[in-house]
Amino acid sequence: MKIRFTAAEEAFRAECAAWLNEQISGPFADIRGIVSQTFRAEQRMEWERALGRARWSVIGWPEKYGGRDASLAEQVIFAEEYARSGAPGRVGHLGTELAGPTILHFGNDLQCERFLLPIARGEEFWCQGYSEPNAGSDLSNVRTRARLEHGPNGPEWVIEGQKIWTSLAQFADWCFVVCRTEEGSKGPAGISYLLVPMKQKGVTVKPIRQMTGDAEFNETFFDGARTKAEYCVGKPGEGWKVAMGTLAFERGVSTLAQQMTFRNELDLLIAAARENGAAKDPLIRQRIAEAWVGLRIMRYSALRMLSRATSGSLGAEALTYKLYWATWRKKLGELAMDVVGAPGELCTDEGYGLADLPYLYLFSRADTIYGGTNQIQRNIIAERALGLPKESRGDR
């Protein structure tokens, strides 16, 4: 057990830091430090193509798919330097962090060849078709259906249904859609994992305005949307396993990048506290210290999780991770409001513009909901890590 990086790793850090800083203080200075997921999306997609060209987009992937076969330590370092440079969150993260790893792990050669390089190069962006209006916490209650049709373009899946909370769908070229392909099936059985093009007539994206005033999330309607028969990951009817596998990738190296965002937020909060004198308040000091402790622990837990992941097993720290960070960030948002005080209540413009910390406060209320509510996370921890009995369903 050691936490120090080797000299070679530190050299790698210098290399990627230099490249990132050059780019982000140069051609991409406009997008530095953006918090919102949707702001200046076009420029950010251009940035992600630049990352792809320099092979910095998915360094942990195999070289032939655009990666660098980077070690865990190198991935950790890159994630840290990426965030430190002020580079913004990635519009393509659902491709690089979820779709890509899923295809790499569960997909066949054809799918790998077709999809991975465009993800790596920032040429194709992705979104996630999981939740439905009646399948929120109860993900397996999928009602979106797909049937195989033999038409002029060969065999194709035809998809009908509605997904919700599809973030970044407005920018996506592809969506990985969980849908029911076996008539009359219930629960996890009979579900398939399809890769569906978004830019087609049968797909409609309707933004959902959130309490922040922004609209990162969408409703996505599939109304006779089509995709090739071969774009089913895993066997038809066995997509649930693949879908759950995707969720496991959420606990990957990208958590470190996310943490660096959190760190930037905490730094912002500390700066605000120092500026307006809140940093002198003993209660605020305690709460900032507590936030700092939580963030450090997140880092340690992520390193523990990643170090173990290389050995293939998923530990308790991985199951607790989502609950931990979501709860932490919600508290950070509340602290942020107490630090900024009443001035944080005021909009910065007529269009419901909010400063970064008040925006964080509002957005953080979603953190404990999306990607599995805190309640669902506690069920998962209790059942999978502690072996307690499963919740009883009302319907089967």
């Binding site: 005033g213 209540e345 369903r393």
Partner: protein
């Protein structure tokens, strides 16, 4: 001692609820907040001129109903239920409390009469750009020039200030031979006053920022007004808390309703203990707030009946009720979003309106932390330490 509402009081509540559910639904609120006034002036007229609500706790001698804080609290609670955003709290809850605490005078009674009749609404200007509730945060100054008193400086976070006819301003008294705070009334149309509406995270109710440039006061209501301002604001805290109580009760009901209908895993989600118990905790918070508000309202009435013996209890109850209702409302509204899941986070659904109102009212009239510290002083934790 009978800590339960009278028949008359229950009737006031029923009438108010009926009226508001018809005229001031949340759907209506969403429309009204887009008006330049931020609320519906016709509804405000009906409340004040027809129903006489603005005068409910004002003396009969000024045209009010001569009832007390308990009755005013009932109206505020009912308004809180629908997040009413017009100037009732600002005028009848806060500004009126300051006016009633200031020294009796004809000018004052004339102002009160205008409020009681509904002819005018008032707003209180009590803090500067920090929005804090301590004396240092006051950014208005009353100066003297050529024997005339003039206001300078600014005030911010003036609730419903952009539509007010009268401002009750708390200012540092810098006139010759004076010190402490003064309580000053000015008219909205007076020379040397700039009023700017401020958009806020809380969509239901705007603030205003006032700039005073040698603004002549209509009246100096209280020389050496520090204690008047303090008492008036304490009473205002009770008013605000009553409104918060109504809002938190609605958001609890909204959430109970939603979780009793929403089905996941083949069960209504309200059958899951994680949901049930959270709702139970929310109810505990609401009931604690309810006890605090009703009691504090009684304390205000006792204080007004006998100011000398009631002052300590007023100070305590006002701090207590602000702590309980501000922290409680935010907790309940935050939980409401969580228990609604994704939909609770959308603009279209009402939970965020409550949540943002909760957050806004945390700072209004003093953060709970400020009031806890105040309580610590009131209950003797400042007294010098020594051997037992």
């Amino acid at each position: 001692m009978r800590f339960a509402f009278t028949e008359d009081q229950n009737l006031i509540r029923e009438t108010a609820r009926e009226f508001l559910s018809e005229r001031a639904s949340i759907a209506q609120l969403r429309k009204d907040i887009t008006r330049p006034e931020g609320h519906d002036p016709a509804l405000w007229q009906a409340m004040t001129r027809e129903l006489g609500w603005a005068g409910i706790a004002l003396p009969e001698s000024t045209g009010g109903s001569g009832l007390g804080m308990v009755e005013l609290a009932i109206l505020l609670e009912e308004q809180g239920r629908c997040l009413y955003g017009g100037p009732f709290l600002a005028s009848a809850g806060i500004a009126s409390a300051l006016l009633l605490e200031s020294a009796a005078s004809e000018t004052r009674d004339a102002l009160v009469s205008r409020l009681a009749s509904g002819e005018a609404s008032a707003a209180a200007a009590i803090t500067g750009d920090t929005g804090r509730s301590d004396e240092l945060a006051v950014a208005a100054e009353l100066i003297e020039r050529d024997g005339r008193a003039l206001l300078q400086g600014h005030a911010s976070f003036v609730l419903n200030g952009h539509t007010a006819d009268i401002f009750v301003v708390v200012a540092h008294d810098r006139r010759t031979g004076k010190s402490g705070l003064a309580l000053v009334a000015i008219g909205a149309g007076v020379w040397g006053l700039e009023i700017k509406k401020l958009a806020a995270m809380d969509l239901t109710r705007p603030y205003a920022r006032l700039v005073f440039k040698d603004t002549p006061p209509q009246a100096v209501l209280a020389d050496g007004g520090t204690p008047c301002a303090a008492r008036g604001l304490q009473i205002a805290q009770v008013a605000l808390a009553a409104e918060q109580l109504g809002a938190m009760q609605t958001v609890l009901e909204l959430t109970t309703g939603y979780t009793s209908q929403r089905v996941q895993f083949g069960r209504v989600i309200g059958s899951f203990q994680a949901i049930k118990h959270r709702l139970a905790d929310m109810m505990v918070v609401c009931e604690a707030a309810r006890s605090a508000v009703y009691y504090a309202a009684c304390v205000v009435d006792e204080y007004r009946a006998d100011p000398s013996s009631g002052a300590q209890e007023l100070a305590e109850a006002a701090a207590l009720v602000k702590v309980q209702c501000s922290a409680g409302f935010h907790e309940v509204a935050g939980n409401a979003i969580q228990l609604h899941g994704g939909i609770g986070f959308t603009w279209e659904y009402d939970t965020h309106l409550f949540f943002k109102r909760a957050r806004a009212t945390i700072n209004l009239l003093g953060h709970p932390q400020h009031h806890r510290e105040r309580i610590a002083s009131l209950i003797g934790l400042d007294a010098s330490m020594g051997a037992p």
